[in-house]
Structure formats: C-alpha cells, structure tokens
Symmetry: C3
C-alpha cells in the first residue's frame, strides 16, 4: 500500500539553471500545487545557482568554485537563456515578452511556490562541491537533501520529471 | 480509481526544438502508439517552433518575436542540432546518416504520429508569448493547451518525460 | 497485473553524453540500486559515446561518422561539460572538485552500477547510425535494444527520467 497512500505527488529534479528551463519548472510546480498536487523540487548542479540570494554576488570557497560562480552568476535574476542569450539581449527580450503577456518571472513563481507549500530542496552534494553555504540560499527552502532522498520522493510520486 | 482507468498513457513535454531531441520525442511517440499506448505530446517553448508550417518563414507579432524567430527558424526542416551543428553541416550529416539507415526524419515521424492517433498539443502560453498564430501551425494538432491540462494528462500517465 | 508485479523499477534514458549529465544518471542509478530499485539505463544518441572503451580513440564506419566521433570524442574520460567547458578547463575543475569532495567520477560510478546489477543498454539504432560496433563498447553492457524495449521497460517502472 505504501506507494498508493500518496497518489498526488510530483517530484521535479531541477538540474538546469537556465532561465528558459526555470520557467517550466516553476510553472509546472505552481500549477501543480494549485491543482492539489504535493510538489517537491530538488535543485541540483546548475539548478542550485538560481536559489542563491540576489544580494550574494559570487559563491564558492576556493579559487575554482569562485571562478565557476563568476562565469555562471548565481540568482534567478542572473540566469541566462540556454540558447539565443546573445550576451543578455535574448534574456532581456524573453523577460520583457513574458511581462507583456502577464507571465510571471521565475523568481515570482518561486515565491508563489513557497506560499503554496511546494517543497524546494537544495542538493547537499552540489552545495559541498560548489562551496555554496546554507546562508547564501534564499529563505524558505527545505533541508539540503541527497540523491537517496530525492529517489525516495520520486518513487512515491505519480509524476517525475528531470528538467 | 480514476487514475487506474487509463493505465496505458504516455505524456511527453517537448520543450526542445533541437533536431537531435525531436528524434527521440517522435520515435518514442510513434513506437509508443504502435505498442498500444495512448500518447500525448505537449509542445512548449522552443519545442513549439518545429510545429510551424514549412511555408511560414518567420513567426512573431512584434520586433522582438520576429527577431527571435529569425534567429531560431521555425519548422522541422530548419531545426538544428543542439551540438556539433557546425553551421548546418552537422545537421545535414545527421539527416543523411539517418536516411542511409532508414531512420525517418522527425517530420515524417510526426505525420505517422498523427496517423496513429498521437495527440500533439501546442502550448497556448508559448503561442501568446512568441506571437505564433494557430493558422501558422501544421494541421492535425489538438487545441492549444496550458500547464494545468498537461499536468492533468501527466498525472494519468504511466510514462512522463520532459525532453 | 503485469505492470504491478515489478513495482520497484527505475528506467533512465541517457540521451546526453555530457559530463555534467552523466553524473546525475550514474548517481541516481547507483543510489537507486543501493536502495533496492531494479534500474535500467538506456544509452541513446550522444549518450552512447561515453560507453565506448577508453582505448578506442575514434568510432565510425565512414567519413561522416568518423568526423562526428572526432569532434565528440568517445569515452567517459573525454566527456565535456555542457556549459563552461572552456576548452577542457571547466571539465578539469569539475572533476577535481568532485575528487576533493569524494564524489566518484562517472566511469567509477558506472563500474559500481554494473556491480550492483544495473542494466545498461546501448541503443541499437544509435550504434547503426554512428557506426559504433559492439566490440568498441565497454564490457558488461546488456544486449543492444530499441525504442520498443525501452518503452516496455519504462511502462513497468515507477520512475522514468529522460536525462
């Protein structure tokens, strides 16, 4: 019975930190929560960077991790398009188009997700690897979790997506 | 019982418009339909561009959306590889290799999918955002749908993939 | 009943051959197997290249496939980052960071997966298309399989991911 007791779960692995992939993650999560799904999003690898607070300019605990964060700036606002970013022009256009059509930016959808009870978990291993400290992440997140926890959540979910 | 009444559904979110990702989407969809699965493909974001008719050169309803479509030409035939595209040479080679090994191009697999009853849904929000009109899309598609509809379809599916 | 008899399966479609995506594939697979899941990984398209043996420098059976393999060198060791690869510097840094934090490289996780009974299947169509022969692949893999087999495995799995 164990698996059938929570039939309304969705788990998303948010691997990408690109703006164009943050949108479907946040739209599916907030829409899912609004439809009554119990939603968990596990942010790992590049997907962890957007969860860094806006006032943190660079993360990392050594030359390598600082350099990676320097080239891949953290925070929702700094997320780039995976293609046609054009030095920020594509990103700017996409955000502007979204605004014109009343599509909320990912950072606002993130707030709505938290309000609606979506569980947003940072990946512990990625935090260690990239030298990102808990106090550098946005408030409201769940405890850092590992692959075993994410798998357990997925195995009890009706919908699992890797984005 | 609702969820168990349609145990043979597969839902794919076709987010990417790249040639190399259109292939698995179309191969899994047509093979799934041939195996008796009830298949739905929800084309969103970059994944909507390939569904534009071949005779439509540029989509968009303002300078920004026209420019995006100009840099990311619509239609299956114009889809690029996500890597090693090499100004079209990689794409040309991959299509040629496929032809030599009797692997159908995505546009032919799309036709087969429609023939086999695969439901192909354009994302309403993407159409609004990118200024793509219904009459610019290939015939045979389902009504434009939103995230809530896609989620509902996924929650009743045994297989859900984000490609 | 057929679908409910094996409730503890996970199937991953490993489409990407990038180093940063090989990690989640191999971490989820090995962790899943350790948690008692019956895991199958279907390596297709770019995802087939990492399975080529380290001593095979170039694969392919004609000028085009040799050229593609030359530009996308096969083997786990030669896999690049999908972004910030920086001519190999990013890849080198990420492997070094992983080593410092006791995160095993994908090729070692692959060995552990095999030891733990994870089924790793090469895609037959990709082998044909790219001219990769069975003897060029690492030992321990399952028989080459097609989309229908992968779909059948997925439809009997609680977790399906496209990575």
């Amino acid at each position: 019975m164990a698996e059938d007791e929570s039939p309304d779960k969705m788990t998303i692995i948010a691997f990408s930190g690109d703006l164009d992939k943050l949108w479907p993650t946040m739209i599916l999560s907030s829409t899912g929560a609004a439809s009554g799904l119990d939603v968990t999003v596990f942010h790992t690898f590049w997907g962890l960077f957007p969860l860094v607070r806006d006032d943190v300019r660079v993360t990392g605990d050594n030359a390598m991790t600082k350099m990676l964060a320097g080239m891949n700036p953290p925070g929702f606002q700094r997320a780039k398009l995976s293609k046609l970013n054009m030095g920020g022009a594509g990103k700017w256009m996409m955000r502007r188009l979204a605004g014109q059509h009343k599509v909320m930016p990912p950072e606002d959808l993130f707030d709505i997700c938290l309000d609606m009870g979506v569980k947003i978990w940072p990946c512990q291993m990625t935090m260690d690897l990239l030298g990102i400290r808990p106090d550098q992440l946005r408030p409201g997140l769940g405890e850092p979790a590992g692959a075993a926890t994410a798998l357990s959540e997925m195995s009890r979910s009706k919908i699992q997506l890797f984005i």
